[in-house]
Symmetry: C2
């Protein structure tokens, strides 16, 4: 079989944040597979087949892409951000592991992209300047006590925390419960960023204290970041602020 499968990260939204490698993969594809709003970001010529889907069928989407590639098509599975971070790459390999053995002969290329937490960090300064972690707040695929345990471990050890998938209509209470758990460990003055639709026209960034963090500031397009003891604000001359995390950690 001569098909190929690319899993392509588009980055946070602004096309200027795509890599040349991502553009090259998209230009080769005969078929695009992905969540419809991501597909809409990709301009293509005639003859390119688009296979759009909704947001909660990652495995079906992965199997469709693998099947198309095994029939000789050049398939690009489209992810926002980086495909390896809470996106399509893991679903593709899960499908390979449990699927048609012929899929193990396919050439599969993961094309990295700028993940949301790096894009958010760049917009506000350098809040990921120390050790940090990324946690998906979705409990669709892992038990909520696991999520809580990771939040507590990360906060207790001094990591900056990036929360992906903070809230959705099907998961309305988890972000509030996460803040509640973090308030038991971190000072109420800890900085929290709500960064929505970063690098897109509707971008909105709010910086609040953990004590005042309101889950209503987040929606499905939001990345939430919680600072550590070394995360601080610098007043800019224009009245705004930069947020950064100091590289040094004092001896306690």
């Amino acid at each position: 079989m001569s098909g190929r499968l690319f899993v392509v990260g588009l980055g946070p939204g602004d096309a200027a944040l795509r890599t040349a490698e991502a553009e090259a993969a998209l230009s080769q594809a005969t078929d695009l597979v992905g969540y419809a709003p991501y597909l809409a970001r990709v301009a293509t010529g005639p003859g390119i087949v688009r296979h759009g889907s909704d947001n909660r069928v990652e495995l079906d989407r992965a199997r469709l892409a693998l099947d198309l590639a095994s029939r000789g098509r050049v398939v690009a599975v489209i992810s926002g951000g980086d495909p390896g971070v809470f996106a399509m790459a893991s679903a593709v390999f899960e499908a390979v592991e449990h699927g048609d053995p012929a899929w193990r002969a396919l050439e599969i290329s993961i094309v990295p992209g700028i993940s949301a937490m790096m894009a958010v960090a760049a917009r506000v300064g350098a809040p990921l300047g120390g050790d940090f972690c990324a946690i998906s707040l979705s409990d669709n695929l892992k038990p909520w006590p696991v999520v809580l345990g990771r939040l507590r471990a990360a906060a207790g050890a001094g990591f900056v925390i990036a929360l992906y998938n903070p809230i959705s209509s099907a998961r309305p209470w988890q972000l509030g419960a996460a803040f509640e758990a973090l308030r038991g460990i971190l000072p109420a003055t800890s900085l929290v960023l709500f960064a929505t639709a970063v690098t897109r026209p509707e971008e909105r960034i709010r910086i609040v204290a953990l004590g005042d963090a309101d889950p209503a500031l987040a929606d499905m397009r939001t990345l939430v970041m919680i600072g550590c003891a070394g995360t601080r604000s610098i007043a800019r001359a224009d009245g705004g602020a930069w947020i950064y995390t100091a590289r040094s950690v004092p001896a306690s």
Copy 2:
């Protein structure tokens, strides 16, 4: 003042992994500031001033860049990977916080890049498919007990762990001590990746079990990644393997 400061992420090495925004920033710069091997990756025309330095003077480099920008130059501070991840962005804001108040009026733009852990993940499959963390193993700026505490917290809570700055001639024993600490928490069969100079001609990736992980497999160009319980290997038809982390975490 009309100067500008860009802090630009070049990504892991291959120029195809730079973003269009990074290329645009580099094309505007009158002055490039950075660690000499990173500067060597940037092709520039005549008249561009290059300010190379060695690897351990981040704050001096940041102050030089801010001073040049405040004199009206358009300065690009060059980072490998993403500038916000164990790189120059945090040093620049540290210099701003403690430096000339006029620097707070500068236009400072952080231009994100593909960080090493995303590039490594893409090369091998999807090992960052679950929750993960990034830890710098350098104890130049934080006490070693803090590093150990974070390693233990992350391993105990089930994070995949990416280790930046794993080893250097000045820090020869820390990686071995880190493996030793992790062996007290994680199974000896846990997967460990040693990924050196990823996407560059001299790229070398080794996959071993934690019980066999030898610090001698790492050098200054290496990112080390330690899998969690859900990190597994899939045999490819060509005899190689993909590594990925399952999205699902079973109830314990």
